[in-house]
């Protein structure tokens, strides 16, 4: 039983130190800079910010005008 508790404590301390170290390392690496750019990385020239990309079939504004059939 005693060793179980020793182990739990040792493990908790090691894990805690590792976590703090990882966080410090991530900050040094610049992980927290440029976060806004990260959020925008899903957009590109063809599907820029502000463009809605999903409609019910046949109900997109452009398609109502075009009514193209292939």
């Amino acid at each position: 039983m005693f060793y179980v508790f020793v182990f739990i404590w040792a493990f908790a301390i090691v894990a805690g130190i590792t976590m703090v170290w990882l966080l410090a390392w991530a900050i040094r690496q610049g992980e927290f800079k440029n976060l806004r750019a990260g959020a925008r990385s899903i957009f590109d020239e063809n599907e820029p910010e502000g463009k809605v990309t999903d409609y019910f079939p046949g109900e997109a504004p452009l398609m109502r005008q075009l009514e193209v059939r292939r």
Partner: protein
């Protein structure tokens, strides 16, 4: 270290259309299997549900006795539907976010087939009475390699895409997807080792069992669902997520706390108090990621709710993310000892599981499919009406199910804690609610059928296009797609 402009020059730039095209075979096979298993799981669920209020329904058939069809319901729903839907999501989302073609498509397709055979064999095994007897891990051992091998393919493909990608940013969704591929194999292997392979027994096995049972939802279904929401909501409405800082906090707190929460499934049981306390603390700490993720999803939506009217993807995604918040709050509160005293052994738990899985995870997978399938196949969904039916059936069926079961569970638990209430009176009290649950299940089933019809039509060959894809919102997009397709066809020749 300006990550924003950094790109990997060795990797060629791949356009979105090429990415989607490369993913078509593999992802479609996973999602088609997902729908197949969803149908089977719903039928198995309906049979189990009906058997609880009318025990003689399909009575005296040993293969379909409640204790066998009920685990088949879980296994086909979690591994059959959840496993394949999440795998398809993972592959497509990772390919898109890394802007790379899907590697080894043939291997992945073969993996999809093997996985289905595994689930089929396993389910038949359980129906024949070969269940391992470990709740949540019932599939017989001979089926497990067939489930593990395809997943190894997916893990390899995922790592390959992630480590050879062109983009420099790791988007939030990718954190979750990478985490899933690291977590899930470890989760399954340790759980199988501790239960069915017999490394531990007795109460230690029960802890391992519920550590797994909770984590298979928390470290597999949930992160995939969140990844889908983090991509779909901003992408559909064309607005970046509310706060990237918060998403970072949400991710790591989720990663740290969720996997400690499982032992609350054994509250009151023969466990040392500290294991339960860890479970409760873990569950309560989940408020941090849930609130941050909730803020991020809902604040992004703020001001864009009118798009719900016009976008099927957004409807399902927002339903999923809202129920994620609700069901996670419910789950955290449920872990409290005073709450568990009442609801632990009752239908409340069943209501909560379905609220989470069918209210949060499944709609996000549906949203994923609604968004991606037209882009993968170049076809459009054949019927807007069927999509609407699917949405309303999912929402209403889910609410009927969750509310009736949670209410019945609370009352059932209170009666059980009153020693003067005869047990059979409690059983009689729950029967009307079990009927309501069957009704809720039937509504969900109707929605599934509507989706199946639509899905069947969209995977037909290109010459059977029903309408022009609406996913092209400007003429420029449309012409671009036409040109690209011509180009690709010439390349093929």
């Amino acid at each position: 270290m300006s990550a924003a402009v950094e790109t990997n020059p060795q990797v060629e730039v791949v356009s979105r259309i090429e990415v989607d095209r490369s993913a078509e075979g593999a992802v479609t096979i996973y999602w088609a299997s997902a729908l197949f298993w969803l149908t089977i799981a719903t039928i198995a669920g309906l049979i189990s549900s009906a058997k609880l209020h009318s025990p003689d329904f399909l009575g005296n058939i040993e293969w379909l006795t409640f204790g066998r069809i009920r685990p088949v319901h879980w296994d086909t729903a979690i591994y059959g539907f959840g496993g394949t839907a999440a795998s398809g999501t993972l592959l497509w989302l990772q390919a898109r976010l890394c802007q790379t073609r899907i590697p080894f498509p043939a291997l992945l397709i073969a993996g999809g087939v093997i996985f289905n055979v595994g689930i089929l064999l396993g389910s038949i095994g359980v129906l024949m009475g070969q269940s391992t007897g470990v709740e949540t891990l019932e599939l017989p051992l001979y089926a497990m390699p067939l489930l593990v091998i395809p997943y190894v393919f997916i893990v390899i493909a995922n790592f390959k895409m992630y480590f050879t990608r062109k983009t420099s940013h790791t988007y939030v969704s990718q954190w979750y997807l990478m985490a899933v591929t690291v977590w899930f194999p470890i989760l399954v292997l340790s759980a199988e080792a501790c239960t069915n392979l017999g490394a531990v027994d007795g109460v230690a096995q029960a802890i391992a069992n519920w550590w797994y049972g909770h984590n298979v939802v928390g470290l597999f279904a949930t992160p995939t669902g969140i990844a889908a929401a983090y991509y779909l909501i901003p992408k559909v409405i064309g607005k970046p997520i509310h706060s990237y800082h918060l998403s970072l906090l949400g991710f790591w707190s989720n990663a740290i706390f969720y996997n400690w929460a499982g032992t609350h499934h054994l509250t009151g049981g023969p466990l040392p108090a500290w294991t339960i306390t860890i479970g409760v603390v873990g569950s309560l700490m989940m408020f941090i990621p849930v609130i941050t993720i909730g803020i991020n999803h809902h604040m992004t939506m703020l001001g864009s709710f009118h798009h719900l009217k016009t976008s099927p993807t957004l409807r399902f995604a927002v339903m999923g993310s809202m129920i994620y918040t609700l069901s996670s709050f419910q789950g955290s509160l449920e872990s409290l000892r005073s709450h568990q005293e009442i609801t632990h052994f009752t239908h409340y738990t069943i209501g909560h599981v379905h609220f989470g899985m069918y209210g949060f995870f499944a709609p996000l997978m549906f949203a994923m499919m609604y968004y991606a399938m037209p882009r993968l196949t170049g076809n459009e969904w054949s019927s807007a009406r069927l999509i609407r039916i699917h949405f309303w059936c999912t929402l209403i069926g889910m609410l009927v199910y969750a509310i009736s079961m949670c209410y019945a569970g609370i009352r059932q638990g209170m009666m059980m804690n009153d020693p003067t209430a005869p047990f059979l009176d409690i059983v009689r009290f729950t029967v009307p609610f079990l009927w309501i649950r069957t009704l809720g299940g039937l509504i969900l089933f109707a929605g599934t059928i509507a989706f199946l019809i639509n899905f069947w039509r969209i995977v037909q060959p290109h010459r059977l296009r029903f309408v022009t894809p609406t996913l092209m919102t400007t003429e420029r997009d449309y012409n671009m797609l036409l040109n690209k397709e011509k180009e690709l066809e010439q390349n093929d020749k």
